[in-house]
C-alpha cells in the first residue's frame, strides 16, 4: 500500500488536472450538443452524454489501473504490445464492422472498439523502445529506415481500413524522430510540402517554380558553395518542382472524390455550401455566431438543432465556440497548448531515453489530433475525421488517449527509480 501511495504522490498533478478538465469540458459540450428538452436527465444512458459518462468512468478506472502497473512493464512489453495491436489491425479488416465507410471496428456488446486508436499508443511505445536503445543514432540511414517502418507499418494497415484520418496521425511521430536526431529537413518537408501543394493549386505553376528557383539560388549563394551543397540544393529544388507539377495529378487521380472536394473547399474553390462545403460552412457559422461571450450553456442553436454535422464527435469544438464564445474556445486552446508544453517539459526531465521519446510520442499524437481537428472546424484544414482528444464523444478514442497519456504519467512518476 505504501508503495502505491508513493506512486500517487509523485504523479504530475498538472497534467492530471488538465486531463480531467478537458474530459469534463468534453462531457459538458456533448451534453449541450445533443441536449433535448425531453431528455434532460444527465444519466440517461440512451443518450450520448449518458454513454460518455460511462466511458469517462471506465477511462478513470483504466487510468488508475495504468498507474498501478509496474512502469517497466511498458518498456519490457513494448514490442509485444506493438505486435498484438498490428495483429488486431489486420484481423479487424476481415472481421470488423464498418462504421462511416471505414472497416476498423470490433463490435463488443453494444459498443464498438477501434484498434486504430490504440495502435497510436502501441506505435509510440515501440518507437520509444527502438529509439531508446543505447546504440541508437538516427544519423545512420539504416536506423532511419527502421524507425520509419515502425511508424509506417500500422499507418498503412489503417489506410487499408479506409480510415485515412487515423492513418495520417502516425505521421505526427516525425516529431519524435526529429527530437531523436533526424535531420530537420524531414519535418520541414512535412510543413513545406502541403503549403507548396496549396500554392500549386492556387497560383500558376510556372511562377511558383521560378520562385522556388530564386529561393534555391539564394540558399546556395549564402551557404558554403561546394559541390555537396549544390547537389543537395539542386535535388531539393528538383523534387519540389516535380511535386508542384504532380499536385494536380495527385489531387485529381489519386485522392478519392470526397477528399478532392474537401481540398477544394479548403482552398475556397468550391462554394457549394449545400454540398461538400456544407460541413465547414455550418461549422464556421456555429463558431462565428458565438461572439465574444458565447450564447451560453445549452443556448446554442446551430449545434443543438443539428445544423452542424457530427457535432458531438469530430465537430464538438463548434459547440464550445457557439456556447462559450471567444473566451471559452480560447481557454480550451490554451488548455491544450498548456498540456502539450507540459508533456514536452516532462519528457525532457526523464532520465530514461524510452520514457523521453514516449513522452514526445504522446505530445505529438495529441497535438496532431488537436491541430487537425480544430483547424478543420475553423476552415483552416481539410475535413479529416479524427477526434479531439479527451473531448470528442466516443469510448475507443477516450480510452486510447487516456491509456496513451497515463502510461507516460506512470513513467514520469517513477523517473527517479533506477533505470
Amino acid at each position: 500500500m505504501r508503495e502505491y501511495k508513493g506512486i500517487f504522490y509523485r504523479i504530475d498533478l498538472v497534467v492530471v488536472i488538465l486531463y480531467l478538465t478537458l474530459v469534463f469540458i468534453g462531457w459538458l459540450n456533448i451534453y449541450a450538443a445533443v441536449f433535448d428538452e425531453s431528455h434532460n436527465n444527465i444519466v440517461d444512458f440512451s443518450q450520448k452524454y449518458g454513454k460518455q459518462m460511462i466511458f469517462i468512468i471506465a477511462a478513470l478506472f483504466l487510468a488508475m489501473g495504468t498507474l498501478i502497473i509496474d512502469p517497466k512493464f511498458f518498456s519490457q512489453f513494448a514490442w509485444f504490445i506493438y505486435g498484438f495491436v498490428i495483429f488486431l489491425l489486420i484481423i479487424v479488416i476481415f472481421s470488423g464492422r464498418e462504421v462511416a465507410g471505414s472497416k476498423g471496428w470490433f463490435a463488443i456488446g453494444g459498443f464498438g472498439i477501434q484498434p486504430a486508436e490504440f495502435a497510436k499508443m502501441a506505435t509510440a511505445l515501440a518507437l520509444a523502445k527502438y529509439l531508446g536503445s543505447l546504440d541508437m543514432s538516427l544519423t545512420k540511414f539504416r536506423n532511419v529506415v527502421m524507425a520509419s517502418a515502425i511508424v509506417l507499418i500500422p499507418a498503412v494497415i489503417v489506410l487499408l481500413q479506409h480510415d485515412t484520418g487515423s492513418a495520417i496521425v502516425f505521421l505526427a511521430l516525425v516529431i519524435v524522430l526529429y527530437r531523436a536526431g533526424l535531420t530537420g529537413l524531414v519535418p520541414l518537408a512535412f510543413i513545406v510540402l502541403p503549403g507548396l501543394g496549396v500554392l500549386a493549386l492556387l497560383i500558376p505553376k510556372v511562377i511558383l517554380v521560378v520562385v522556388l528557383l530564386i529561393v534555391a539560388g539564394g540558399f546556395y549563394f549564402f551557404s558554403k558553395r561546394n559541390l555537396r551543397t549544390m547537389v543537395l540544393i539542386s535535388s531539393i529544388f528538383m523534387a519540389s518542382a516535380g511535386f508542384v507539377f504532380s499536385v494536380d495529378y495527385s489531387v485529381n487521380h489519386i485522392l478519392e472524390p470526397h477528399q478532392r472536394n474537401r481540398i477544394h473547399v479548403l482552398l475556397g474553390n468550391d462554394l457549394d455550401l449545400k454540398g461538400a462545403g456544407y460541413n465547414v460552412n455550418q461549422s464556421l457559422i456555429a463558431i462565428g455566431s458565438g461572439g465574444v461571450f458565447g450564447k451560453g450553456f445549452l443556448q446554442g442553436t446551430q449545434t443543438k438543432y443539428n445544423f452542424v454535422p457530427e457535432q458531438s464527435t469530430d465537430f464538438i469544438f463548434c459547440t464550445v465556440g457557439e456556447e462559450w464564445g471567444f473566451l471559452g474556445s480560447s481557454l480550451l486552446i490554451l488548455l491544450y497548448v498548456g498540456l502539450f508544453v507540459r508533456i514536452i517539459l516532462m519528457a525532457e526531465r526523464q532520465r530514461s531515453r524510452f520514457s523521453r521519446f514516449y513522452g514526445y510520442g504522446v505530445a505529438s499524437i495529441l497535438f496532431f489530433h488537436f491541430a487537425i481537428n480544430i483547424g478543420m472546424t475553423l476552415g483552416l484544414m481539410p475535413v479529416i475525421g479524427i477526434p479531439l482528444p479527451f473531448v470528442s464523444y466516443g469510448g475507443s478514442s477516450l480510452w486510447a488517449f487516456t491509456l496513451l497519456l497515463f502510461i507516460f504519467i506512470r513513467q514520469d512518476s517513477s523517473r527517479f527509480d533506477l533505470v
Binding site: 516529431i175 461572439g291 438543432y305 490554451l334 475553423l378
Partner: protein
Amino acid sequence: MERIYADRKYIIIGFFLLIGFFYLARLFYVQILVDKYILSANNNVLRYVTQYPARGLVFDRNGKLLVYNEAAYDLMVVPRQVKNPDTMALCHLIGIEKSEFISRLQKARNYSPYRSSIFEAQITRENYGYLEEMLFRFPGFFVQSRTLRKYTYPVAAHTFGYIGEAGPEMIAKNPYYRSGDYIGISGIEKSYEEILRGKKGMKIRMFDVLNRDKGSFRDGKYDTISMAGTDLYSSMDAELQAYGELLMTNKKGSIVAIEPQTGEILCVVSSPSYDPNLLAGNIRKKNYTMLLADSVYVPLFNRALMAMYPPGSTFKLIDALVGQQEGVLTPDTRYGCPGGFPIGNGKIVGCHPHPSPLDLIGSIQISCNSYFCRVFKSIIDSKSYLSVRQAYESWRKEVMSFGLGKKLGIDIPGELNGNIPTPTYYDKYHGKNRWRSMTIISLGIGQGEIGITPIQLANMAAVISNRGWYYSPHVIRAIGRNDSMNMAYNTKHHTLVDPAYFDVVIEGMANVITSGTGTIAKIDSLTMGGKTGTAQNPHGKNHSIFIAFAPVQNTKIAISVVCENAGYGATWAAPIASLMIEKYLNRTIKRKDLEERMINGNLINGKQPESERVQGNILPD
C-alpha cells in the same frame, strides 16, 4: 550527441505555441471581427412570423356592422427548405399549373432563400381544410393566417374603399410596411389606415435543420405583440345608403345626405357603383381590372366627391343670401320678368312663364331666372366697390364661405375643390378690365364656369338650414368607442352672411315644396325646404339637381341629389331626394308608386321614360 538534440525541444514547443496562437487569431477573426456568421446562424434557425392584427371594424350610426374580417390563409414558402416537393400534388391542391409553381418558387428564391414569401395568397377556409391535412408532405411550406375584408351590405363601395398589398413605393416610404402587408388604398380604409390597421406583431421561432419547430426564441423575449385595429363608428345609415343606391339604379349621379347640426354624413351614393366585396381578397386584381375597363358606367368613379356640376338654379339661394349681405337686395325687392333677361346683342337668359313681378320669396319659389340675374348684376355692379373686380372678389369670398369651390376636408380621399372662378381666370379669358357683370351673368343662375360637387351641394343645404354655419362633413363620427367623438371634425365654420338673412330664403325654400317648382317632393307629414336645379351641360341633356332639408325647424337631414342627363330638377332629383328624406325620417315609404317609378327609371341605356309627360304639374326651373 544527446545534448545537441535537446535544444530541439524549443523548436518543438515553439511550433506548438505558434499553431495555438494561429488558431486564437483565427477564432478572434471568426467570432469577433466578422458579423456574417451571426446573420447566417439567425438565418439558419430563426423564422420571423408576423402576427397580423385584425383590422378595425366599421359600424353604421345605428350600430349595424358594416365592415368586418373573415379568416383567410396565405400559403408561405421558405425556398431553401423546399425538398423534393411533390409538385403535381401541390399544384393540384391550390389549382395552379406546374410552370406557375416553378416561376413562383423562383420568385420567392430571388427574394430570399431563407425567408418566407407568400406562395398563394388568401386561400379560403374551405380550401385551407384540405391543404392543412396534406401540408406535412411539403417541407418548406407553411400557412399563415390572415384576415379578409368583408362587407355586410353590398353598398357604399366608394366610401369604404378597399385594401390591397402595399406597393414598393409605400414600402420604401413607410418602414412599417413590408412586402405582402395590406394597406388601405382608397375610401376610409385609406384615410383611417393607421387607426384601422392596428399594430403588427412579430414572433420569433426557432427551427431545426429538419424544419421542425423548436419553440420561441429566448422564451419570446424579442417577440412583439400585435395590437388589434381600432373600430370606427360611422355616421352612415346603412339602410338609407342601400335605399339611395336602389333609387339610383340605372342612373348616373349621386346622393349625399348630411345631418346639418353635426356635419355627419348619413349616406353618400355614387351611381353606378359596385359591390365592395368584389375588391376584397385575391379576386380584387381581376375585378379591379374589370371595373376599370368599364367606360360606360365608370363604376370606380366617386361622383359624389369627384364630379363637378354647374349648380343651376340651386345657386339662386346663394344669390339671395349674398345679395342681402351686400345690401343690394331685401325680401321686398321686386323685379318683373318679361320672359327672360336681356344680356345684349339681342340675347336673353330665358325664363319660363310665371306671375310677375315677384318678390324674393316668390322668385325662389318659382325660380325666376330674370330675378336672380338682376340680383347678381346688382351685386357685381354694387356702388360699394370701386371696381367690378373688387365686387366680384367680395362675392366670391362670400360664396366660398358656404364651403363651395374648395375642399371641405371630408374623410373620404379624393374630393375635388369644385370651381368658383377666380378674377384672374376672367382676366385671362376676357382680358384685364374687359369683363363686367353682364359678361359673367350666367353665374347668377349657377351656370357657366362654376363647378360644385354633390357633397358641396348637400353641405350648402345644411348651411342654409343651420342659418349660416357648418361642420365639415364626415363619415366617421367616433373612433374606438361609440360615445367618443371624431376630434378632427369639431370646428364650426361660419359663413360671411348674417344669420338674419337666412329666414326669408328658408321660407322661399319651403314654398318651393308647398307651391313652387318642387311640389313633387312634398311629404304630407313633414315640413321641408328645397330647391330645384337644372344644370345645362354641353355634353348632353341637362342634369337634374335638387337640394333639400327637413324638417324646416330642428332640421335632421340635408340632402343633395344629382341625376346626370335626366332633365329638370323636379323630374328625377326632387322625387329621389324626397323619398330619401321620407325613408330617413319616417323609416317607411308611403308613396309606393313614386318609389317604384324612381327605381325602375333607366336613365343610362333605357329610353327616356315617359314620366316627364305624365307628370303635368312639373314646372321648369
